[in-house]
């Protein structure tokens, strides 16, 4: 576990540097199992920073969310760095953004935090119900200790941690300037058993499942906006000329939206699972992403977000790529 006082100290030290503009980390949320990602600009605010298993959000998303306003004539753009705290999975987003040249490596200062898992709010609600008071938690290799208003309960990891954590392959940050705690030992592998199970169904069964799921979608685009890899300034789904997807919410447009979204993450999804977490109508979005992740791994031996020197999957090719289903 990371020592929070050390984390705050480090944050304050980084923020005090002249070439640093802001720092993205987490602070305690206003209720229940919530943590809030926060962007701080002054070393004095570093006191609010925390890191514990409630810190689910991926801070890498906020690097690219910041709007670039036109610089007034006679002024110069602020090119100071952004510092960002990352867990293992979050760091993969930074790697992939660097692979895609979203920004330069010099642009960010990465403070890595080895992580043993974060809490799934839905699982927590099933265990604890609707919690109003602020919750903190501790996690180790066996258990999660949840502190609800002074009342500490110990819970089994699989009952409360996010699914991504139970099969986490990269608990330690893959890119960082400084590591804020000792590396942790990897505890799991990923066999993509869930993907295989879903694939076993007939096309009719699969569609029946997705038809129900997609028809719930209200197209709030939260899954898109929260995604650290969805950082296009202009998105294909909001374009009007040509209009690829209509704004109408019906099964036809919703399906096409979800196919587009998943497709644009082919070979890019770093499995932070934020899309599924934020969905207000509980669509299992990762089921689509994980299918592609597995296929990309098997067919092209490619894994996004692990190697800064890698080529983007769809901007490269191998003459020996599989093609047995091509006529």
């Amino acid at each position: 576990m990371v020592d929070e006082s050390k984390l705050r100290e480090k944050a304050a030290e980084v923020l005090a540097r002249e070439d640093v503009r802001r720092l993205i980390g987490w602070k305690r949320g206003t209720y229940g199992f919530e943590a809030a990602p926060c962007v701080i600009k002054d070393a004095s605010e570093a006191e609010a920073l925390i890191f514990d298993p409630t810190c689910v959000q991926n801070p890498a998303s906020f690097i690219t969310l910041e709007e670039k306003k036109p610089v007034p004539r006679g002024q110069e753009a602020d090119t100071r760095k952004i510092a960002v705290m990352v867990k293992g999975c979050d760091s993969r987003a930074i790697v992939q953004q660097l692979v895609e040249k979203a920004y330069d490596r010099d642009h960010v200062i990465v403070l890595g935090i080895p992580c043993l898992g974060v809490i799934d709010r839905r699982k927590a609600a099933a265990l604890f119900g609707d919690v109003a008071s602020q919750v903190s938690a501790k996690v180790d290799a066996e258990k999660v200790a949840v502190d609800v208003g002074g009342d500490v309960k110990t819970v089994d990891r699989k009952d409360i941690l996010m699914d991504k954590c139970l099969r986490c392959r990269y608990p330690n940050p893959l890119v960082y300037d400084e590591l804020l705690a000792d590396e942790v030992e990897k505890w799991a592998g990923d066999e993509f058993a869930d993907v295989g199970e879903f694939e076993g169904q007939s096309p009719e069964e699969k569609w029946a499942f997705w038809e129900e799921q997609f028809s719930k979608c209200i197209r709030c685009y939260s899954c898109r906006n929260v995604c650290p890899m969805c950082y296009c300034v202009e998105c294909v789904v909001t374009k009007l000329q040509p209009q690829w997807t209509r704004r109408a919410t019906d099964i036809s447009e919703n399906t096409v939206y979800h196919i587009q979204r998943a497709w644009h993450l082919a070979g890019r999804c770093i499995e932070c699972m934020e899309c599924q977490r934020v969905c207000p109508v509980d669509i299992p979005i990762m089921t689509l992403n994980r299918k592609l992740t597995r296929d990309v791994k098997e067919m092209f031996e490619y894994e996004p977000g692990v190697d800064v020197e890698a080529q983007p999957l769809l901007a490269s090719y191998n003459p020996q790529d599989p093609e047995d289903f091509i006529m």
């Binding site: 990602p37 962007v39 959000q57 197209r219 709030c220 934020v278 509980d282």
Partner: protein, 346 residues
Amino acid sequence: MGDYKFAKTKLAEVIGAMSDYQVVAPVESGEVVRFAVVDDPAKVTLEFSNTNVPPKELMFPETETLFRFRLGGTDLEPEVPDAAARRAVFGIRPCDAMAYTIVEKLYNWDFPDPYFNNRREATTLVGYACAEPCANCFCPSLGGGPGSEKGLDSIAFDLGDTMYLKTLTDKGEELVKALGGVLESAGEAEARAAAKQVEEAEGKIRRSIDTEGIAEHLPELYGHPFWEQFSDRCLSCGICTFLCPTCHCFDIQDESEGLDARRARMWDTCMFSEYSLHASGHNPRPTRKERTCNRVSHKYSFFPTNFDAIACVGCGRCINYCPVNIDLLDILEKSKQADAKEAQDA
């Protein structure tokens, strides 16, 4: 008006007896509870604190055809959709019903909106009082409450084994008549139990906001740096607004399939950057800071200025579902401390 009751086990029978109406009720589909037209009364569930998607979609659907037409030629022969079907909405929470009384002021402002009004007219609302408010409910602060009757035609209370139904308007009474003999009449005891339940539920509500002075203060804070502590983590998604029972903004688009075409309106949200984007490319609300400011100010200042009602019912959805914990009450409390002078300097 009348007092009625029925055994909770007979819920499906009661819903089934509403056959003169198109019945809309909370139904579980794909792991979430949402209001939908009931085809099988057995599917209706009362096991929910509140639906994720508010029942505003019953009066203001996500996507709604305004009229249809044929492409080609110069004669437009718009075909306006039929008037709304007579329907009964069963199980709507008091906060969501109160939201209709707020947005209907806007829908009848400079132009009475026939789509909204037709639906509202044709609908009988049977409320469902809250016994277990959720962590972020704050309806009493806005004039509502777990047993609020605002906007409702009748209200049901879950008293354990029995459901107590109190009618509030002629429309509500009419629905009861249409039910035939399924209901029994209720007495003092049920009314007392219901009142006690409401009182207890109110006691369980943990959050509140004193709205005094907010409407006057917020416009002075345009551009104030305090917004940034929230907007810096905003995702610019539509959760807070799409799930808000009083948010009512829409976009209008023409769509065609072959020669058939329609003009439709669909939910839009001020949190998208495209919302305020001008054709020229200029965007008067270029960053999330202005958009966050606009959302809160619209609810708590601009709307009350125009319509004498705060556009918020305290259902807590925007707080519950915000993926990055942007907490409306937190914003409002902090806005009170923010100094208008700093906004001018900024």
